[in-house]
């Protein structure tokens, strides 16, 4: 019984505890990032 409780406690620590970190980070479900570029114009790297 004690082992089961111990296992559940560890599981709770691993699964439940990290969740609030995401909330604390401040990102809401309506927040996102757009990374963008344009007019690369066939340039892979400057010449010299």
């Amino acid at each position: 019984m004690n082992r089961i409780i111990l296992c559940l406690s560890i599981l709770a620590f691993l699964v439940i505890l990290p969740a609030p970190r995401v909330i604390a980070s401040g990102a809401g479900a309506n927040e996102f990032m757009v990374l963008y570029s344009n007019n690369v114009n066939g340039e892979t790297e400057p010449c010299g």
């Binding site: 995401v22 980070s25 401040g26 990102a27 809401g28 479900a29 309506n30 927040e31 996102f32 990032m33 757009v34 990374l35 963008y36 570029s37 344009n38 007019n39 690369v40 114009n41 066939g42 340039e43 892979t44 790297e45 400057p46 010449c47 010299g48």
Partner: protein
């Protein structure tokens, strides 16, 4: 100063360090330098284009807008490239005339957190006489191509992004007609980036400068059905100013009944008042989140020389250069440019016979070793680089710079003073060309040399004794 491997590194770093989900998009004009590819340079351009696609696949782009410039090697080439791309090429208006189908995907959808984002692409028109498309294909005007697509997207998407290379003026009109488009990533051919500009309450437009020297990052907080939190609402303000101007003009014309353009101005005034009314109506709260204001923070990141590289993308870039060098080092290509007397150039050794002090000073300068710089980078056959690293410079025909004779494989006397064969034969009657800042600006443009200063840099060369 650009570089796909630096761009890739920055994107990876930004995604890792942010806790927000992201989209990676490109507005277009990705593959080629100009709107048509010279026959002589077709193979080199195609190798470069394939390298760029490999790099973009590694970076993990979601979508790229098809611009007219991406069609520079022809539609068939771009369709082949599309098959090799892990991202989606977007164009809603390149259409097969016979069946009305799009040749590229018009849109993609992504669920980002609670927001459903739709991305649509629009291609700018080719000139009427262009042969880059076959006769069964056309680029439809946006007014014909967009209505159905935007109606469909606005039904079940919260946020719509347009990738386009249309002119800024046309983007403004699109924003006016379709308030459902929230962000326009604009591939304009400009040195400087387009800071976000709120075209309407619901549409903002942004774009980076040309040649991949910058990347853009926009952090967005969006409440579906809301408007952008913004001080300026450029388009409406412009229309209101125009209305006021026309009103004043009309008042003046009233006092001069003989003038016949009164009705013309009155009719323009009525049109503009109708537009303003429509735009103001669009600002009225109509959705549950209308009272809320959405916001964004935009940042451009310049790709500096000292920035780290993304290892895998750097390898792709190096391999692309190796392939270009191998291609252009073939004797069939190099042989045609190896005549020393080509176009009146004679080489610096001839100049030294009379101007030894100047030649000795020049030999200490970086101009003298400009070709060695390319050899070190394994780019000595790359026609993109060569014109500014050899003596004979021809902007219109860069392929002629491949395989120059060794006396012209440097930025020599004749780069600045003009072809010297006639002058060396008869110095009295044939004077050399005076050097001006314009001469240097053939190569020392901000793209290559941001700190160029004619007076200071000329002194460094120390040619004048």
């Amino acid at each position: 100063m650009g570089g796909l491997s630096k761009k890739a590194y920055q994107f990876t770093k930004l995604i890792k360090s942010s806790n927000r989900p992201s989209l990676i998009l490109d507005g277009g004009s990705l593959l080629f330098k100009s709107n048509s590819v010279q026959n002589k340079l077709a193979n080199q351009s195609e190798i470069t284009a394939k390298g760029i696609i490999k790099a973009y696949n590694l970076i993990g782009y979601d979508a790229v807008g098809v611009s007219r410039r991406d069609l520079a090697a022809g539609l068939d080439f771009l369709l082949k490239i599309k098959e090799k791309s892990k991202f989606t090429w977007l164009s809603a208006n390149i259409i097969n005339k016979s069946n009305g189908h799009s040749l590229f995907k018009p849109t993609i959808s992504r669920n980002i957190g609670d927001i459903k984002v739709g991305v649509v692409g629009l291609t700018n028109q080719l000139p009427a006489n262009s042969k880059l498309l076959d006769k069964d294909t056309e680029i439809k005007p946006w007014r014909d191509a967009l209505p159905a697509i935007i109606n469909e997207l606005t039904r079940d998407h919260d946020f719509i992004i347009l990738l386009t290379s249309l002119s800024a003026g046309e983007c403004r009109k699109i924003a006016e007609v379709y308030p459902g488009i929230n962000l326009i990533i604009h591939a304009k051919d400009s040195d400087v980036g387009q800071l976000p500009i709120n075209l309407t309450e619901t549409t903002t437009m942004v774009g980076t400068g040309k040649k991949g020297k910058y990347i853009g990052m926009m952090d967005i907080k969006w409440y579906p059905g809301s408007t952008w939190q913004a001080a300026n609402h450029e388009l409406l303000t412009t229309k209101r100013r125009e209305r006021d101007r026309l009103n004043r003009q009309l008042a003046l014309l009233k006092d001069r009944p003989g003038r016949n353009n009164y009705q013309k101005v009155q009719s323009r005034l009525i049109t503009i008042e109708n537009t303003i009314e429509k735009m103001e109506l669009a600002r009225e709260p109509s959705a549950k989140n209308a009272a809320l204001k959405s916001s964004y923070k935009n940042r451009f990141i310049a790709m500096g020389k000292s920035m780290p590289d993304h290892a895998a993308v750097l390898e792709v870039v190096k391999e692309t250069k190796r392939l270009i060098n191998r291609l252009n080092s073939k004797p069939t290509i190099t042989a045609q440019n190896s005549t020393l007397t080509n176009k009146g150039f004679t080489g610096w050794q001839t100049c030294r016979k009379c101007h030894s002090d100047q030649a000795n000073n020049w030999q200490k300068s970086r101009h003298a070793s400009s070709f060695q710089t390319l050899i070190k980078k394994n780019q000595q056959f790359n026609s993109d680089c060569l014109p500014c690293h050899v003596t004979r410079f021809d902007k219109r025909d860069p392929a002629t710079a491949i395989g120059m004779p060794s006396d012209l494989q440097m930025v020599g006397c004749e780069n600045c003073h003009g072809p010297g064969a006639s002058h060396s034969a008869n110095p009295i009657s044939h004077k050399t060309t005076p050097v001006t800042a314009k001469t240097c600006l053939n190569c020392h443009i901000p793209d290559h040399d941001e700190s160029f200063n004619f007076v200071r840099d000329l002194k460094k060369l120390n040619c004048i004794l």
